[in-house]
Assembly symmetry: C2
Homo-oligomer: 310 residues x 2
């Protein structure tokens, strides 16, 4: 059973109360605690040794990634992160210096985004390190950008470059918190999600939430240098396009706006974030599913259809 | 290195911001998000297979305990729990039914305390199940009961009965949320903590936070039937008093009030919570450390001194 289906199954009949604006199913939960101008964002995310990092990775990188992933989820709602709790589940016989360095990675990124680290817990997980981060933030009332909300003919945008992130970027990515805030302040962003499972993995969540589909332009998808480099290493490697679609761990933003806003958005972005690439990669369609247009015509991208792009 | 020292080491120089009323070091973090009448409580806690439960335990019990521990921490601040996120780190080849039953245990307790479960995450921890719960709550502004605040001559109270909780109570305990709210509404509670590591493990945290000590009366410490029963099983077993002091996992409240309030508090409690035992177990002293008075006189309880009570 896939994670997404499993979560859907588990969350079908969860208890709710009057504080819940949005429960499970978006990048963060949205809670109303009675503030006149704001709602709260609440998110948790875990990284596990051997899955999200290796025991041989730099502890600072591991720490940075554990918080960065949560920051990226707050960004995907156009929110402001505020306070984090850190749960460290540690193998036996760890070195205190190793932990200090994990916390250095967490604290350094937290300072960059003015996030308070207000405590946490140390427990034991004998076979491998696991770090779970819980993050609290806020967004203006009515200003949270949801996964739902994409409309037919919307332009589809993605920040940064995709693919090959496992080589280094999954430790070095910049959570797009400020970019998302700027976007939501200046434009009516219809729908947004952060890319953790790759464009082919996460775009379907946004489309399903909106009851729409998408047509992408292959040549417009921003492929990272790393994905191009990896494609050259062996004939068995993914093509650069397939890597950009499926590698995952990019932690870029995917969002849609009315097509009439697309040019002004691109112009404003270039001025405000000259170093961060922004690409219009296609448009929203009324029919569900994803199609990709390239020189050879239009092909359907199905969940199990990545091999078509190999 | 003990967990407590390790956390102190890690949290020495954490980033803070203007939202932080209390960071690490109390039962929950306290955050000010600008609500006129309330502050937020933020807590995370994890349970790990082989440490906090066994693979053979009922999944409903495991789920219930994972949330219950966090509820107990919100109770220890006299707060109201509101919304939880659940992180499940699962061994490979789990049964979906097993997960459903974990969620039943969580949801059932959540409903009892009107807590919303607003999502979470499923990830992989190949060797053992780990559940991390993140809980958000609130308490009236200026009404959070902290670990610090105990004053010399205060009466020291404990709810319920202590010891032997590992047999069954660690799955069945009732988080003292309503009891704590009632206490804080009707009395000036000077300091409070929940007992997860045993009276001998947690009382020192409360005393150190207040810069005080305590004198306990051995005969007043409420020893559970289970602790008495266990003491009879073998001559090598802990004495009932030692079990009550050190077994842990009781999830009862330990708190102090001015001695002049002690009788009224006991009377009011008996009327309001006739089924929950409340015991005055001693008093706060100006000098640090814990002494226990019994028929043989006064003995010091040191962190490594439990054997004196064996």
């Amino acid at each position: 059973m896939k994670e997404f289906e499993l979560i859907q199954r588990l969350t079908r009949s969860l208890p709710l109360n009057s504080s819940v604006v949005i429960g499970s199913g978006d990048d963060c939960a949205v809670l109303d605690f009675g503030l006149s101008d704001r709602v709260l964002l609440f998110k948790t995310d875990a990284v596990v040794e051997g899955i999200h990092f290796l025991a041989s990775d730099a502890p600072e990188d591991i720490g940075r990634k554990s918080l960065g992933r949560c920051l990226s989820d707050i960004a995907a709602m156009a929110g402001t992160p505020t306070a984090a709790l850190i749960t460290l589940a540690l193998p036996t016989n760890f070195e205190p210096e190793f932990l200090d360095r994990i916390y250095q990675g967490i604290s350094s990124l937290a300072r960059q985004f003015e996030v308070a680290v207000v405590g946490g817990e140390v427990t034991t997980n004998p076979e491998r390190l696991l770090i779970s981060v819980s993050l609290l933030g806020w967004v203006g009332r009515g200003k949270a950008v949801l996964r739902s909300g994409a409309r037919p003919a919307d332009a589809v945008f993605v920040t940064g470059e995709l693919g090959g992130s496992r080589a280094q970027k999954h430790f070095r990515f910049e959570p797009r918190v400020r970019e998302a805030q700027w976007l939501a302040q200046h434009f009516s962003i219809h729908a947004m999600i952060d890319l953790s499972d790759g464009l082919a993995g996460d775009l379907p969540h946004l489309l399903e939430a909106g009851g729409v589909g998408a047509e992408l332009l292959a040549s417009a998808i921003p492929i990272s240098k790393e994905a191009r480099r990896a494609a050259k290493t062996s004939s068995a490697a993914k093509t650069p396009l397939l890597a950009a679609l499926t590698d995952g761990e990019d932690f870029e933003l995917l969002f849609t706006v009315a097509s009439r806003d697309a040019v002004a958005l691109l112009d404003g972005w270039k001025e405000r974030f000259p170093r961060v690439r922004l690409s219009c990669i296609g448009k929203i369609t009324p029919n569900p599913g994803i199609v990709i247009r390239d020189k050879q015509g239009i092909r359907e991208l199905t969940v199990h259809g990545y091999e078509h792009f190999a």
